[in-house]
């Protein structure tokens, strides 16, 4: 497995775990109080922060372990990695656009910040997940 594919897997795994934990915490909070009273911002900020740090940490540890087995290809990337990354970004971008349009609509109807922020937040998450899956599929099945 090449360096960039490992990073893609690390991002995917961390995003999946972080989003699952966030959704569970959010649903619990929604069960106890209305959306407008939930202190969502610290929870969201922590999820984003921990996800970024965890993805970097997993990539580094995985990279060290892979480098011990194959020192030559530990940190290298090439045209194929860049092509696959571009394709993944393009696939994921569609969900960012959908989330962005959703935010505009929610602002137009003066929705609460809770819904506006979560529309964008889940847009980012779905974009990262779908883009990541597309990249992994391209690494495994091919990109022509």
């Amino acid at each position: 497995m090449v360096y960039q594919e490992r990073n893609t897997w690390a991002g995917l795994i961390v995003t999946l775990i972080a989003m699952t934990a966030y959704v569970i915490a959010l649903l619990r909070a929604l069960g106890e109080q209305p959306a407008s009273e939930i202190e969502w911002w610290p929870m969201m900020a922590w999820t984003i922060g921990i996800s970024i740090v965890a993805a970097i940490a997993v990539s580094i540890v995985w990279g060290i372990l892979a480098g011990m087995r194959d020192p030559d290809g530990a940190g290298r990337s090439d045209d194929r990695d860049r092509d696959i990354a571009r394709m993944g970004d393009r696939v994921g971008q569609a969900f960012l656009v959908i989330a962005g349009l959703g935010v505009i609509v929610l602002c137009a109807v003066r929705a609460e910040p809770f819904w506006v922020a979560h529309t964008m937040f889940f847009g980012f998450a779905v974009s990262a997940l779908v883009g990541g899956v597309a990249q992994v599929v391209a690494y495994r099945r091919g990109l022509v």
Binding site: E5, D72, R76, D78, D79, D83, V137, G142, L143, V144
Partner: protein, 74 residues
């Protein structure tokens, strides 16, 4: 669904004739071994520049290494 490419290549045959391993050719081309494997198996279409570099490694023309089927005239 990945759209299959119609471009085929004889990289493996040329590489084996030249007595080169995948790792060695990948290193000379400046790509990862996984990328070379993907190209050999037709799972990745290289850029035109990389295709020329590959052909040059075997001292061959592009057409000797990469093939594209003729359109049937109708």
């Amino acid at each position: 669904m990945v759209k299959p490419t119609r471009v085929t290549n004889d990289i493996r045959a040329h590489r084996e004739a030249a007595g080169m391993t995948q790792a060695e050719l990948a290193r000379r081309l400046g790509v990862t071994r996984q990328t070379l494997i993907a190209i050999e198996q037709g799972r990745y279409s290289p850029s035109l520049e990389l295709a020329f570099q590959i052909a040059r490694e075997f001292a061959r023309g592009l057409d000797d290494v990469f093939h594209y089927p003729q359109e049937s005239s109708s």
